[in-house]
C-alpha cells in the first residue's frame, strides 16, 4: 500500500531521486557525504524548492513555500543540529511560532498577545504521556542532556500534529544507551501510526531498526530495498559503488619506544563547577596508537584545549581565566606546564583539530596560504621574519602528490575542496616536520569513504615509523580499528582501558555510556 511517495526528476544537487515510503514504517535514507541526502530532505521539508519532479503525500501532489507549509501538511524534520535556543526553556522552544494565548486578548494584533503558557503545558503533558517522551519543560534547554533535547525536538513536531517525521543523523550524538532508548521511542511512534524517515550513514543501525532503505549516490537513487536480509558490506558497496573494506587489516603488534606524551593526575575545570577533566592520567609511547573513545562532550574537547595551550590553564596566565587546571603534562619528554600555545607547537608535534573548518583552515585562502598555517615557525619556511616562498611551494607540491589532494592547484581556495581533501591537506601539513607525536581528533568526520581508508593507512604508517599517536574520535569503529590501546572517556575521566581486541563494541559502549564494571 502506498502511504507516501516522493519523486524528483532531474534537479540540481539531486539528479534523480525517488523515495517511496510506506505509511507507518521506519525508512532509512543512506548515502555518502555529498550524495544529496540533506538536499533532498530539505526539499521535502520545505526549505528548498525542487526544480522538477513532484512530492506526493498520501497520493496527493503537494508543493510548499516554507517549512511551515510542510508542517501544516503533516511533515516535519528534526535536524542534526538541534534548533533549540539554549537559555530558554523547553516549553518556549516548543511553542515558538504557535504560542497559544487566551481568547481575552483577541483585540490585540496576533503577534502582540501575551502567551498562555499553561494551555501549552497541558497539551504537552498529554503528548508526553501518550508517547512516553518525558521531558522537563521548565529548565533552560542547554542544561538538558542531548538525548532529552532530542525528545524535545520530536515533541515540537508532535505538538503540531505531524504524521511524517524526518530525522537527520539522529544518533550522531547519542551514547549507545541513548541510542537504544531512541529506537524504542521510534517504535512507539511507529505503533501510533507515524511514518519515520531516518537519514543516516550508520549502516549497523539501518540493519537493526529500519524496515526499508533507499540508497543515494551522487544525487540519484541507486537502490530501494527492504532491509531484511541485507548485510553491511552490501549496503556500503551500494553507497560507494565499489567494494569497500570496512575494516583495515589489523597491524602487527606495536614496537614501543620512549614516552612522548604523559599526563599525570590532570584536573581541569571552573571553580564551583564540576570539573571537565578529573584526575586524568595517560601515556602515549612511540610506535603506538592510543585511542580515546567516548561520546562527544565528555571532556575530549577540553583535553585538546589543554594540550594545545597548557600554560594558559595550568599557570593561570591571564587575568580572568576562569578555567584552570592542575597536574603534570609532559610532551616529547619536556614539562610543558608553563608552555603557551606558541611554545608548545614549537616543540614540533602534529595536530589535527576537531573542527577542521573552524580550527584547521583559513577557508577563504588558497591551499598555499593554508599550508603555511601552523608551520610558519619552522626555519625551513621562514628566515629573518621573511617567508621563504619557494620552500613552501615545493613542500606543498610534494605533499599534494603524496596525499593525493584534489584538485592539485596550489592557488585553489580551501573552501572549494571536499572534506576528505581538506583533511588530507591538513594531515600532510602536520606531517611535514616528521613529528614524533601526532594528536588527531575526529580525523575522518565528514570525509568520504575512499579518503577514510587513505587517512587510516597514513596514521598506521606513522605508527609503524615510530610516531606516537593520540587518536580522539567519537566514531567507535575507527578507534577500534586503529588503536592499540583504547581509553574510554566518560564525564572527564578515563573509566576503562582496553587493549586491541579485548572488547567488542557493546562492551566499550557500555563504558562510554557511564556504565561501571559491576553491571556486566
Amino acid at each position: 500500500m502506498r502511504g507516501v511517495a516522493k519523486a524528483f526528476g532531474a534537479c540540481v544537487a539531486n539528479r534523480d531521486v525517488t523515495i517511496r515510503v510506506e505509511r507507518g514504517t521506519v525508512h532509512a535514507v543512506v548515502g555518502e557525504n555529498g550524495a544529496g541526502k540533506s538536499t533532498c530532505m530539505k526539499m521535502l521539508y520545505g526549505l528548498y524548492r525542487p526544480d522538477c519532479g513532484e512530492i506526493l503525500i498520501h497520493g496527493k501532489a503537494r508543493a510548499w513555500r516554507s517549512p511551515r507549509d510542510a508542517i501544516a501538511a503533516g511533515l516535519g524534520m528534526v535536524h542534526q543540529h538541534f534548533m533549540l535556543a539554549g537559555p530558554y526553556t523547553g516549553l518556549d522552544n516548543i511553542i515558538l511560532g504557535d504560542e497559544p494565548s487566551q481568547g481575552f486578548w483577541r483585540w490585540l494584533p496576533a503577534a502582540w498577545r501575551p502567551i498562555d503558557r499553561s494551555q501549552a503545558r497541558r497539551r504537552l503533558q498529554e503528548l508526553m504521556a501518550a508517547y512516553h517522551l518525558q521531558v522537563d519543560l521548565d529548565v533552560p534547554v542547554e542544561t538538558l542532556p542531548v538525548g532529552v533535547q532530542q525528545r524535545l525536538e520530536i515533541l515540537k513536531l508532535l505538538y503540531r500534529g505531524v504524521d511524517i517525521l524526518i530525522l537527520d543523523e539522529p544518533t550522531a550524538v547519542l551514547t549507545p544507551q541513548e541510542v537504544d532508548e531512541f529506537f524504542t521511542n521510534l517504535c512507539r511512534l511507529k505503533d501510533q501510526g507515524k511514518t519515520i524517515i531516518v537519514i543516516t550513514h550508520k549502516l549497523g543501525e539501518v540493519l537493526r531498526y529500519a524496515d526499508d532503505v533507499t540508497v543515494l549516490r551522487r544525487g540519484a537513487t541507486v537502490a530501494e530495498r527492504p532491509v531484511a536480509g541485507m548485510t553491511a558490506p552490501e549496503l556500503a558497496e551500494l553507497m560507494v559503488g565499489r567494494v569497500v573494506h570496512l575494516q583495515v587489516a589489523p597491524p602487527p603488534s606495536p614496537k614501543l619506544g620512549a614516552e612522548q606524551l604523559r599526563l599525570a593526575k590532570v584536573t581541569m575545570g571552573q571553580r564551583g563547577e564540576k570539573p571537565k577533566l578529573a584526575d586524568l592520567s595517560l601515556v602515549v609511547r612511540s610506535g603506538e596508537i592510543v585511542g580515546i573513545a567516548g561520546i562527544e562532550g565528555n571532556g575530549q574537547s577540553d583535553l585538546l584545549r589543554l594540550l594545545l595551550d597548557p600554560g594558559r590553564y595550568l599557570h593561570r596566565a591571564s587575568l580572568g581565566q576562569r578555567i584552570t587546571a592542575k597536574g603534570e603534562i609532559n610532551v616529547l619528554g619536556r614539562d610543558v606546564s608553563s608552555f603557551r600555545a606558541k611554545a608548545l607547537r614549537a616543540l614540533g608535534l602534529g595536530v589535527v583539530p576537531e573542527d577542521r573548518c573552524q580550527q584547521g583552515l583559513l577557508l577563504s585562502q588558497s591551499l598555499w596560504t593554508n599550508f603555511l598555517l601552523g608551520v610558519q615557525r619552522m626555519p625551513r619556511f621562514g628566515r629573518f621574519g621573511f617567508i621563504r616562498r619557494r620552500q613552501v611551494t615545493s613542500a606543498l607540491a610534494a605533499a599534494i602528490k603524496a596525499f593525493d589532494v584534489r584538485p592539485a592547484d596550489q592557488q585553489q581556495i580551501a573552501s572549494g575542496l571536499s572534506g576528505g581533501n581538506q583533511q588530507k591537506l591538513i594531515i600532510a601539513r602536520e606531517f611535514i616536520g616528521d613529528p614524533r607525536l601526532f594528536i588527531c581528533a575526529q580525523p575522518t568526520r565528514g570525509v568520504d569513504v575512499g579518503s577514510i581508508e587513505f587517512i587510516h593507512q597514513r596514521i598506521l604508517d606513522a605508527r609503524a615509523g615510530g610516531t606516537a599517536v593520540l587518536l580522539i574520535s567519537s566514531a567507535l569503529e575507527e578507534v577500534m580499528a586503529l588503536a592499540d590501546r583504547i581509553l574510554v572517556f566518560y564525564d572527564g575521566k578515563i573509566v576503562q582501558e582496553f587493549r586491541r581486541g579485548e572488547a567488542d563494541e557493546a562492551k566499550i559502549g557500555h563504558f562510554m555510556g557511564g556504565g561501571s564494571r559491576g553491571d556486566d
Partner: protein, 290 residues
Amino acid sequence: MGEHLLDLAAATLRLATPLLLAAMGGLLSERSGIINLALEGKMLVGAFAAAVVTLATGSPWLGLAGGSLAGILLAALYGVAVLPLKANQIVAATGINMLAAGIPPFVAKILYDVTGSTPSIELAHRFVVFPMGLALVAPVALWWVLGKTRAGLRLNFAGEHPEALAAAGVSVARVRWTALLAAGALAGSGGASLSIFLSSAYSRNMSSGRGFMALAALILGKWRPLPTLFACLFFAVADAVQIRLQGLEIAGLGKVPVQFIQILPYVLTIIVLAGFVGKSRAPKALGEPL
C-alpha cells in the same frame, strides 16, 4: 545634606533620560540580533530634528515626534544596509554615525545660516518632565513585552537562534526590522530629550558619546531591561557628580583640572567594559547576518 542628595537624585534621573531611552532602543535591536553601534548617530539626528521642529512649531510634543521620526529614518537606512544588503554591521554603523554627524551642520546652515548651535528654544516650549517619565516606563514596558508576549519571545529567538525561528515559520527579517525601527524611535527620542529637555538647543556633537555609554550600560545590564535601567542610573550618577565636582580642590595638590573631571564618564565606561565583559552573555546570534 539631604537637600544635596535630593538634588543629586533629581539630576541623576534627568541625566539618565537620554541614556535610558537609547539603551532601551539598543536592547531591542541587539536582542533581535543586530549590533547597534549607531545609537550615537540616531541620538544626534534626533536631537537636531527635535530642536528644529520645536523651533518651527513651538510644541515640544511635535519636537519629540520629529526626533523619533529622524531616528526611525536613520534606522531604516541602517536596516537597508544591514538586512537585505548584509553589510558588516560595525562598518555600516560607523558610516551612519559619520553621516549623522554631518547632516545637522549641513541642514543648520541651510535653515538658520549657523554652523554651531541652533537658536535657543524658550522654556515654555521645552519639556519639564515628560521624557523622564517615558524613560522610566520604557524598561518596564520592555520587560513585559519581552517576557510575556509572542512578539517578545520571537524577538528573543531572533537574537539567540534565528534558524529555529525561521524553521518555526516566522520571518526573522520582519522581526529584526521591527526591532530596528523601534530602536531608532527610542534612540531618536533619547536624542530629542537632549535638545528639548536637558538643554535648550542643539549644539554640535551634542551626544558626545552617550550612544556608546548606553551600549556599555546595556552590556553591564546583561541585555535585560531592569538591570540595564540600573546601569544607566549608575552612569548618570557619574555624570551628575562630574558636573558638581568641577572646580574641586584636593588638599595639597591644588585644583583638579577641569578636563580630568570631564573625562570621568568615559573612563568609567572603559572600566565597566573591562571589568564585566565575559560574565555577561550576549544574544548568541548577535551580529551574524541571517
